[in-house]
């Protein structure tokens, strides 16, 4: 199996051993549960505000998973071995990011369906919401690896990671929430797809550069 393949497999296995998507999904549901508790159960209000809030909850759940992405590799010496592989570090980072998206991002997107319904989204809009979340979590992962790489050597750097990454989450959230609200869906969805592609293409490059510095 190639370096990309073994990296992807290993990352999946490690995520699974760490509890898999259970914690992020729980976090996702829990945050969504807080929304009506904070806003009141008024259907009309939830209908306007609810669906976009699914996006905030998903963003926060992804943030929680990003912190560990490179920290253990840096600490236990695995990062150095990755640097000695014939496959460039950028590729290895993409493999890890893909594993994160498959193990966490996709489940979050699918879990967006029940959450959106609970937050009073119209049923016919739910498939689009799930699609937008799938693209959005991919975008979050792409830019998230940058924050994870840059804070990999900071103990308990989760808050710093969030601060760094939030400005980069803004564009996907803007377009994704627009899809969730049913406003200008076509344009928003295509731009969101563009964000996701750009994030996956460029994020790992910056992340790899930062990781090489971390390994020094």
């Amino acid at each position: 199996m190639s370096a990309l393949g073994v990296t992807f497999k290993r990352e999946l296995a490690l995520l699974w051993a760490g509890g898999g998507a259970l914690a992020p999904l729980g976090y996702f549901f829990g945050t969504a549960m807080l929304v009506p508790l904070a806003m009141g159960p008024d259907r009309a209000l939830l209908q306007t505000a609810g669906p976009p809030l699914v996006w905030i909850a998903a963003a926060l759940a992804m943030l929680a998973m990003l912190e560990r992405l490179f920290q253990s590799d840096l600490e236990d010496g695995s990062l150095e071995q990755m640097l000695l592989s014939p496959t460039p570090l950028e590729g290895i980072v993409i493999a890890k990011a893909c594993a994160l998206w498959v193990a966490i991002g996709l489940p979050l997107a699918l879990a967006g369906a029940p959450v959106a319904i609970a937050l009073q989204a119209p049923v016919e809009r739910v498939p689009l919401i799930v699609l937008s979340l799938a693209l959005g979590t991919a975008a979050f992962t792409g830019v998230g690896v940058i924050g994870a790489a840059v804070t990999a050597s900071v103990k308990r750097g989760g808050v710093l990671l969030a601060l760094i990454v939030l400005p980069m989450f803004a564009p996907p959230i803007i377009f994704g929430a627009s899809v969730a609200s049913g406003e200008d869906v076509g344009a928003a969805l295509s731009i969101l797809a563009g964000c996701a592609l750009a994030a996956i293409a460029l994020g790992p490059i910056a992340a790899a550069a930062a990781l090489r510095l971390q390994a020094e």
């Binding site: 199996m1 190639s2 370096a3 393949g5 073994v6 990296t7 497999k9 290993r10 296995a13 490690l14 051993a17 760490g18 253990s72 600490e75 236990d76 010496g77 695995s78 150095e80 071995q81 990755m82 640097l83 000695l84 592989s85 014939p86 496959t87 390994a215 020094e216």
Partner: protein, 209 residues
């Protein structure tokens, strides 16, 4: 039973290391300057020095992880230095939840190598623990697992940082055999040690200068 040397299937590979006027700094502090030495196929270089003297930094610089402050590190007979060396540092690069076998497969993929499990297991006495997760291994077994990278993918240059740490006598013997057959096949071994490993080194480098 000795491990098959990495190059016994191929004609001996000629390679060399040249370090010229190397200066390294760490956290603003200069560790050493003006270090020069050369190693050729079959050499075993021992790097000695007290803690914090720069032994580890020297190896990491040779592995391409650290950028030197001054000087040059050159490799002869290899196209891509990062692909021609193995680095076994203080940290074993192990994941606690993954099994021994998982690690062997991962490294086989990562380094595009392919030594068979049985070969590795016998050379480093890991056969009995193949299915165990790393958290169930002793320190010595973990260290031997880290050393298995050397067998999984044949590469001419070995950079070893305190390779015998946590190894018992049997482990040290296995390590010395590995080093012996690697040298016999034309490989180079550079090891940072506190006390001599066993084989007489071709040269000894003391750090700091």
């Amino acid at each position: 039973m000795s491990a098959r040397g990495p190059f016994q299937d191929n004609p001996p590979h000629k390679s060399g290391i040249r370090v010229e006027a190397l200066a390294l700094s760490r956290g603003g502090r200069i560790l050493f300057e003006g270090l020069s030495f050369a190693a050729a196929s079959g050499d075993y270089v021992e790097v000695q020095g007290s803690n914090g003297s720069g032994k580890t930094s020297l190896l990491r610089a040779m592995a391409g992880l650290l950028t030197p402050k001054a000087g040059e590190i050159a490799f002869d007979g290899v196209e891509e230095p990062a692909l021609a060396l193995h680095y076994v540092g203080h940290a074993n690069a192990l994941k606690r939840e993954a099994s021994v076998r998982d690690h062997l497969r991962y490294w086989a993929g990562l380094f595009e190598g392919g030594a068979r499990e049985q070969v590795v297991g016998q050379a480093l006495d890991l056969t009995r623990v193949m299915s165990l997760p790393v958290r169930a291994l002793s320190q010595g077994q973990a260290r031997r697992l880290a050393l298995s990278r050397l067998i999984i993918a044949p590469r001419p240059i070995w950079l070893l940082d305190e390779p015998a740490a946590a190894l018992d006598d049997a482990g040290k013997a296995a390590l010395n055999e590995l080093i012996g057959s690697h040298r016999a096949g034309g490989g180079i071994v550079v090891a940072a040690v506190h006390e001599p490993l066993g084989p007489a080194p071709s040269q000894t480098i003391r750090v700091p200068r």
